[in-house]
C-alpha cells in the first residue's frame, strides 16, 4: 500500500492539474474522476487520452484543461501512446537528454477505448510491461458519439445501438469482466474504484503510479447525459453501485484479490447488500425494465450481479 497520507484539507490544496473550465456536462462522473486522479500525482507526469468525451471536453484548441504535458492520438491508442512515451523517457534519460529523475505516465480511456477498440493495444502494452497507469473511466457507453453500446454497457441498458424496442429490451449481453481480464494478464496492480469513495480512488491512483510496471484502474463514472439520470445524483448513483454490488470496489496486487473497505462491509454483513432495483430506478436507461413484461430482465440482472459478487468473494478468499 502507498505511504501517502493526507487530510481532506491537504488534498484540496494539491495542484489542479486537470483545470476547471472544461466543457463536460453538469454532473459528469468522468470529469470528477480525472480531476481527483490528477490531484494524486506524486511528481512530474505526462498524460494521454484516447478519443472520447474527456479528450473532447478538455482540449478544444486553443484552450486546454491540462496543466501537464498531454497528448491525444486516436481512439484505440491510449495504451500504445503510453508505451511510446514511457519508452522514450527511459532511453532519453539513459542517454542523459532529459533531466527528470522520474516521470509518471498515465493513460486515460473510456469504456469504448478499453473494452472494445483499444483492448489489443492495452493487452500488448501490459504484456510488454511498460511502467504506466492505465485509467479506464467507465461511463458504460460511447458517450462522445451519442450513447452507443460498448462491451462495458450493462445488461438491460438502453443505448442508441441497443434501444429498448418492441421485441428486444435493451442490451442483451453482459458487461465484459475487463478488470478480471487485466488481472489475468498478471500485471502488478489492478483496482476498481468509484467517484463516491474519493479517498479510496485517489489512493488507488497513487498506488498505480507508484507501482513498477503496468497498473490498471477501473473507475465507475456515471454520465447523466447517457444514463438519463439527474445531474445532482452522480455521486449517489455511484454509492448505490457499490451498495448493490453492481460495481464492487476491490484491488488485486500481484494477482491477490482484496475487497476494499466499502465492499468488504457488505461481504461481512450480507444484509447490507441492497437489491439492484433501487439502483436501476435512478437511471432512465433502465426505465423500460419496469414495464411488467420486462420483469424477467430485472431478475436476470439481479441474478447476474449476485453471481459475479459470489465469484469475487471467492477470488478474495471470503466465500
Amino acid at each position: 500500500m502507498t505511504e501517502w497520507k493526507f487530510t481532506a484539507k491537504e488534498f484540496a490544496q494539491t495542484p489542479e492539474l486537470f483545470a476547471s473550465g472544461h466543457r463536460a456536462c453538469a454532473g459528469c462522473g468522468p470529469a470528477v474522476a480525472l480531476r481527483l486522479i490528477m490531484k494524486a500525482a506524486r511528481g512530474p507526469i505526462i498524460a494521454t487520452n484516447s478519443t472520447g468525451c474527456m479528450e473532447v471536453v478538455s482540449t478544444i484548441y486553443p484552450y486546454t484543461s491540462w496543466n501537464i504535458p498531454w497528448i491525444h492520438t486516436a481512439f484505440e491508442t491510449a495504451a500504445a501512446n503510453a508505451s511510446g512515451i514511457e519508452t522514450a523517457l527511459k532511453v532519453l534519460k539513459k542517454k542523459g537528454r532529459i533531466k527528470n529523475e522520474h516521470v509518471d505516465v498515465v493513460a486515460f480511456s473510456g469504456d469504448g477505448g478499453t473494452f472494445d477498440i483499444g483492448i489489443q493495444a492495452l493487452s500488448g502494452a501490459v504484456e510488454r510491461g511498460h511502467d504506466f497507469l492505465y485509467v479506464l473511466y467507465d461511463n458504460e457507453a460511447y458517450m462522445n458519439t451519442g450513447i452507443q453500446r460498448s462491451g462495458g454497457t450493462p445488461m438491460g441498458a438502453w443505448t442508441t445501438t441497443s434501444p429498448a424496442g418492441k421485441v428486444i429490451p435493451g442490451k442483451l449481453e453482459r458487461k465484459k469482466p475487463i478488470s478480471d481480464i487485466m488481472v489475468a494478464h498478471e500485471i502488478p496492480y489492478v483496482a476498481t474504484a468509484n467517484i463516491a469513495h474519493w479517498k479510496d480512488l485517489v489512493l488507488k491512483a497513487r498506488k498505480g503510479m507508484e507501482v513498477n510496471g503496468p497498473a490498471f484502474l477501473h473507475v465507475f463514472a456515471p454520465c447523466p447525459r447517457g444514463w438519463r439520470s439527474e445531474t445532482a445524483k452522480s455521486v449517489e448513483i455511484s454509492r448505490l453501485a457499490v451498495e448493490t454490488c453492481v460495481f464492487p470496489n476491490w484491488e488485486a496486487e500481484d494477482g491477490e484479490y482484496k475487497l476494499s473497505p466499502q465492499s468488504k462491509v457488505i461481504a461481512l454483513k450480507p444484509e447490507r447488500k441492497k437489491p439492484v432495483e433501487g439502483y436501476l430506478k435512478t437511471q432512465g436507461r433502465f426505465r423500460h425494465l419496469f414495464k411488467p413484461e420486462n420483469k424477467h430482465v430485472r431478475e436476470a440482472i439481479q441474478k447476474e450481479v449476485d453471481r459475479r459478487w459470489q465469484k469475487l468473494l471467492k477470488s478474495c478468499g471470503i466465500a
Binding site: 498531454w70 492520438t73 495504451a79 508505451s83 532511453v91 532529459i98 504484456e127
Partner: protein, 409 residues
C-alpha cells in the same frame, strides 16, 4: 569524390536499412514483422540483444501500435524509426495521418509489397501509393545502396525544424530487400555527425509562452487536441507549406550527403538518366530504373535517343523538375507499379500528366502498368515501351493511353 573513407560490405536492402538505423543513434524503434520487411526487425533485434545499439526496441503487438508508439515517442523528443510493408502499412493508415498531423518526424522504411487480396508477398507499389495524401514525404530507392543512403538522409530531413514531417523510404520488396549487393557504408562517427542529435524547435503553448515542441514536464504542452473549423484548416495549410519547403531541404540534405559520401542521385528529387538530349523517355520509380537504364544504354548504342526520369521523391512532388526534364520530349511513357482502379491510369501517371498540363510544349504521354504482385519486368518488355514511344513520336498519336504490360490478356 568522397570526403570520408568507406567500407564495402555485402548487404541486402533490409540489412542495409537496419545498419543505417543502427548508425543513426535512433532512440526508439517500434516495429512488427511482415514479409519482406522482416529481416529489418530481426536484424535490429539482434543489435539490441547484443548491446550494439543504445536504442529501445518495442516489439509491439501490431503495426497500428508500432506507428502510435513511434508517434508518441517522437512527441516526447525521441528519434524514432519503424519499418513495414503491404498489410502492415495499410493497418497503419489511420495513424499515418495522425503522425503527420502531430508533426512527428518519424522515419519509416516501406519494403514495397502488393496489397491483398489475393494475398501476395511480392513487390509492387500499391501499399505506399495508397498512402499518398497522408502528409508523409515519400522517397524511393533504386538499389540497396540508395536505401542505406536515404535512411540516413531521412532523419535529417524529417527532423529539420522547418519540416517536421514523417518520411517513408520505399524500397522494392525482394528485388532489393532480399538481394545481396555491395553497399558502401560510412563510418558510424560520420553518420552520427551527419544526423546530429535530434533537436526540438520552440512553439507557442496555450499560455502564449514559447516552449519546446515536446511532452516536457517542465513546459506543459497539449498535443493532438480537438481542433474544429476555426483552426483545423490553418493547421493543414501549415503541413502543406512544410511539404513545399521539403523540396528544398531534400535537395540540401542530399547535396550535403553527396559531399561526404561521393554519391548522388540526380538533385535528390529526380534522377534523370541520359535525358538531356533524349527524344523519347520513360518515367519510373524504384528498382525498375536499373533495368530501364540498361535498355536505354542499348538503345543509345543503336542511335536511338532514349532517356529515363527516375522519380526519387514522390511526395512532395517535384513539379518544376518534371517540367524541366520532360518538356519538349517527343514522347514519354510513365511506368506505374500500382493501379488506381477506375482512374485514368496509374498513380504516377496522374501526377506526371498533371504536372505537365500547363506546359505548352508538353510531350504526348502514355501509361504502362507493370509488375503487379512481383511480375517480372524484362528488358525486352521495357524495350517494347521505347518502340511504342518511337511510333508515338513519329505519328504524334497515342493509340492506347493506358496499357498493361507483361500479363496474359
Amino acid at each position: 569524390m568522397a570526403k570520408v573513407e568507406q567500407k564495402t560490405v555485402p548487404l541486402n536492402g533490409d540489412t542495409a536499412v537496419a545498419f543505417a538505423v543502427k548508425q543513426c543513434d535512433v532512440d526508439v524503434v517500434a516495429a512488427y514483422p511482415i514479409t519482406p520487411q522482416t529481416i529489418i526487425v530481426e536484424k535490429f533485434s539482434e543489435y539490441v540483444a547484443n548491446g550494439e545499439v543504445e536504442t529501445e526496441f518495442v516489439c509491439v503487438e501490431s503495426e497500428h501500435s508500432a506507428m502510435t508508439c513511434c508517434l508518441t515517442a517522437a512527441a516526447t523528443g525521441a528519434r524514432t524509426f519503424t519499418a513495414t510493408a503491404s498489410a502492415g502499412l495499410a493497418l497503419m493508415h489511420e495513424m499515418l495521418a495522425v503522425t503527420s498531423g502531430c508533426r512527428a518526424p518519424v522515419v519509416m522504411s516501406v519494403v514495397n509489397r502488393a496489397l491483398s487480396a489475393p494475398i501476395n508477398i511480392h513487390c509492387d507499389h500499391s501499399d505506399s501509393m495508397a498512402q499518398r495524401d497522408l502528409g508523409w514525404i515519400q522517397i524511393y530507392a533504386e538499389n540497396s545502396q540508395e536505401a542505406y543512403d536515404s535512411i540516413i538522409q531521412a532523419f535529417r530531413i524529417a527532423e529539420n525544424p522547418e519540416i517536421l514531417l514523417p518520411i517513408i523510404v520505399g524500397l522494392d520488396g525482394f528485388v532489393l530487400s532480399h538481394t545481396l549487393e555491395n553497399v558502401k557504408v560510412l563510418p558510424t562517427e560520420a553518420v552520427r555527425e551527419f544526423v546530429g542529435i535530434r533537436g526540438v524547435p520552440l512553439v507557442m503553448n496555450h499560455r502564449g509562452e514559447m516552449v519546446p515542441f515536446k511532452l516536457d514536464p517542465e513546459n506543459p504542452l497539449t498535443i493532438g487536441p480537438l481542433d474544429l473549423y476555426d483552426y483545423y484548416f490553418e493547421h493543414k495549410r501549415q503541413q502543406e507549406e512544410a511539404m513545399r519547403r521539403a523540396l528544398e531541404v531534400i535537395k540540401q540534405v542530399h547535396d550535403a550527403y553527396a559531399e561526404q559520401s561521393g554519391r548522388s542521385y540526380g538533385n535528390g528529387l529526380v534522377e534523370p538518366y541520359r535525358l538531356d538530349d533524349a527524344e523519347i523517355a520513360t518515367v519510373c520509380i524504384g528498382s525498375t530504373a536499373g533495368t530501364v537504364k540498361t535498355v536505354v544504354d542499348e538503345l543509345r548504342d543503336n542511335g536511338i535517343k532514349a532517356g529515363l526520369l527516375r522519380m526519387r521523391a514522390f511526395r512532395p512532388l517535384p513539379v518544376q523538375d518534371i517540367i524541366r526534364c520532360l518538356s519538349g520530349k517527343k514522347a514519354v511513357a510513365v511506368m506505374d507499379r500500382a493501379c488506381s482502379f477506375g482512374g485514368n491510369g496509374g498513380p504516377l501517371f496522374h501526377e506526371i500528366r498533371h504536372a505537365l498540363y500547363d506546359v505548352p510544349n508538353k510531350p504526348p504521354l502514355a501509361n504502362y502498368i507493370y509488375g503487379l504482385g512481383g511480375r517480372d519486368t524484362s528488358p525486352y518488355m521495357i524495350d517494347g515501351i521505347y518502340r511504342d514511344l518511337q511510333k508515338i513520336a513519329e505519328t504524334r498519336q497515342i493509340k492506347e493511353g493506358v496499357q498493361f504490360i507483361g500479363l496474359r490478356e
